[in-house]
């Protein structure tokens, strides 16, 4: 880590501390066991106001012109302080990255500056009832009429749709081919014909399903080429799968568990050994994340390294959630601000169930590693 990166991380830590009063007032903050799924419009606004959104974007879009790797190092600090990051991750890190790379300049000018100011939140309409792991089977139709697409379909697992301003949609523009018949469109969530329904999850937050009925979206809102959407979606996922922010939260949990065991005279050799092994695995997982971010910076093929980063983090979520509860014993089962380690053991235990499902299941990550990384076909 360079001294500039180190300084930036220290600045980020001070900023995170300053958010503590806002976080304390937010009921969802401790209920939500996975910080990357946490929603908070207020935290997003404050992140933007302080210049922390869009770090890797050019200055003219409100960014700081830093590398993805540096942004990833800072995101780990956000995670250590349990900032609710869903809007940040969707709007800047994944969808924002694809817009920056694939959208026409006018659309980039329209969308990136308000994202970096913390004013515009995106949600992601990829999955459908019949197209989850098999995303290439999506059926949401986009018919071209003049210079407008008319979109009809049903999206599920649209995280943060209940508070989003814009939606990023994978749509079918050619019914005769599979992966080569997909395009990507963006539009405001309040466009007529869009209906959002949210429902609570085991993680302590919400997921949404989004119904699209004759939604009119201008051709100018295409991200990438017509029928070239598969590459755009995969590019988006390569970014989504670098999950260093989660690892920051896991590091906090291990520190907190160790401290609690020490305070209560229960830090014996077995407990210390289990924590040490998990820290070793966490260190390896961080390095996998940083390598994946670096590959994206250098525009190297990133799918296999991103899948490794994602899968290792997802497994750690479950291993650390499980270990935290085991090690704390009965008090580890308690939820809420008054509980041991602020109730994060129990919250992570339940929320981590989603970690090997969301953003591509563990099995999909294995396929990506096997096929793209190892050449097994």
């Amino acid at each position: 880590m360079t001294s500039t990166q180190q300084r930036l991380r220290e600045e980020a830590a001070v900023f995170c501390q300053s958010l503590r009063p806002v976080l304390e007032q937010d009921e969802e903050w401790r209920r939500q066991g996975m910080l990357s799924d946490g929603d908070s419009r207020e935290v997003y606004r404050l992140l933007g106001e302080a210049g922390w959104i869009g770090m890797s974007w050019p200055v003219e879009f409100g960014g700081r012109g830093l590398t993805r790797l540096t942004a990833t190092l800072v995101e780990e600090v956000f995670g250590y302080h349990w900032l609710p990051l869903s809007s940040y991750l969707l709007s800047y890190k994944t969808i924002g990255a694809a817009i920056e790379r694939y959208a026409e300049p006018a659309l980039v000018d329209l969308l990136l500056p308000p994202i970096s100011r913390g004013e515009l939140i995106f949600c992601q309409g990829f999955s459908e009832p019949g197209a989850g792991s098999d995303l290439g089977s999506l059926t949401t139709r986009a018919e071209l009429r003049g210079d407008t697409y008319v979109v009809t379909g049903h999206k599920i697992w649209t995280s943060s749709a209940q508070l989003s301003d814009w939606i990023y949609l994978g749509v079918r523009t050619d019914a005769d081919t599979k992966h080569r018949g997909i395009s990507v469109l963006v539009c405001p969530v309040d466009t007529p014909g869009i209906e959002v329904r949210s429902f609570p999850t085991l993680g302590g937050g919400y997921l949404c399903e989004t119904f699209l009925d004759g939604v009119e979206i201008p051709v100018a809102n295409l991200v990438g080429e017509v029928n070239g959407g598969w590459d755009v979606l995969m590019y988006t996922l390569d970014f989504e799968r670098v999950t260093a922010e989660k690892l920051g939260g896991f590091a906090w949990v291990l520190n907190a568990v160790e401290e609690r065991l020490r305070e209560t005279d229960r830090l014996d050799r077995v407990a210390a050994g289990r924590i040490s092994r998990l820290r070793g695995e966490l260190h390896a997982s961080r390095l996998l994340s940083f390598r994946a971010a670096d590959n994206l910076d250098r525009e190297l093929p990133g799918s296999a390294s991103s899948a490794m980063a994602k899968l290792s983090g997802a497994r750690l979520a479950q291993a650390i959630g499980d270990a935290a509860v085991d090690l704390l014993g009965l008090e580890g089962l308690a939820e809420g601000a008054e509980a041991a380690i602020e109730g994060r053991a129990a919250a992570l235990y339940r929320a981590s169930v989603g970690s090997t499902i969301a953003g591509g299941t563990a099995e999909v990550q294995q396929l990506v590693i096997a096929r793209r990384g190892l050449g097994l076909r």
Partner: protein, 260 residues
């Protein structure tokens, strides 16, 4: 190995590869009989390229890791790690590996992986921080090399071995196993390089994780090889036996280091 090295590190790795190249690990152990895979000629060839001095300068941790990976890939004798870093055989919990002729006394004890173990000797817990750090980094590198060598064998096997009219590499279950193995292998390699930081510390947590993680990789590799890996000929089992051995010796050392 798909981890490109800087030219001078690659050069050193190639030298280690060359020194190890003509050496062949004993493929067919006789379980229950004491064996020692130590090879003085191999040690001499490595000494010629400066292997033994790598602990003495933190800036040499890079070459040490590059070489350690090569030793692991070859399942080379562990005394090459211990003596080049600690300057002595590893002696913990009343046992010493590759100790004959190097320490006083002790009785021969047959082991899982032929590490020439003597029992009933005095433990000498290493205390020099520079030597310990080098031992930690090279041990991580050795484990990374074991994992890498094992995965390489399994991938080649999966692409070549045909069942149901096609290479088993096309079976989703095989792909999933090897994906998991490769993920852990990459984590081990990155951890080893992370421990090569001259300003770094003894990589306790990485070592606590790495032995079990490497064992997990080699278990996947055994499973993918099926009966072919279960047979002693072919030598796939060498990675599996050695990974467990490194794990346990490392855990015992970590435990002794933690004792007051």
């Amino acid at each position: 190995m798909r981890f490109p090295l800087e030219p001078e590190l690659e050069l050193f790795a190639a030298s280690v590869r060359g020194a190890v190249g003509v050496w062949e690990a004993p493929l067919e152990p006789v379980f229950g009989e004491w064996q020692d895979d130590r090879d003085d000629a191999l040690a001499a060839r490595l000494a010629e390229i400066g292997w033994g001095e790598l602990w003495s300068d933190p800036d040499l941790l890079g070459p040490a890791v590059a070489g350690g990976v090569e030793l692991g890939r070859a399942v080379a004798p562990l005394c090459l790690v211990d003596e080049a870093t600690l300057g002595a055989p590893l002696a913990v919990d009343g046992r010493v590996r590759h100790g004959e002729g190097r320490v006083e006394g002790g009785e021969r004890e047959p082991t899982l992986d032929g590490t020439g173990t003597l029992r009933g000797v005095e433990s000498v817990v290493p205390s020099d921080p520079a030597r310990l750090q080098a031992w930690g980094a090279v041990t991580l590198a050795y484990l990374a090399g074991l994992a890498d060598g094992a995965v390489e064998k399994a991938v080649a096997h999966a692409l070549a071995r045909e069942q149901f009219g096609a290479p088993i590499a096309r079976l989703a279950a095989v792909q999933a196993r090897l994906a998991d193995a490769a993920l852990v292998r990459d984590g081990l390699v990155l951890s080893a390089w992370s421990a090569a930081d001259p300003d770094g510390a003894f990589p306790r947590d990485s070592l606590a994780w790495a032995g079990g993680a490497c064992r997990e990789v080699t278990m996947h590799v055994q499973q993918v090889h099926g009966g072919i890996g279960f047979a002693l000929e072919g030598g796939v089992h060498r990675y599996f036996r050695r990974a467990k051995s490194v794990q346990v010796w490392t855990d015992v050392l970590l435990s002794e280091l933690a004792s007051p």
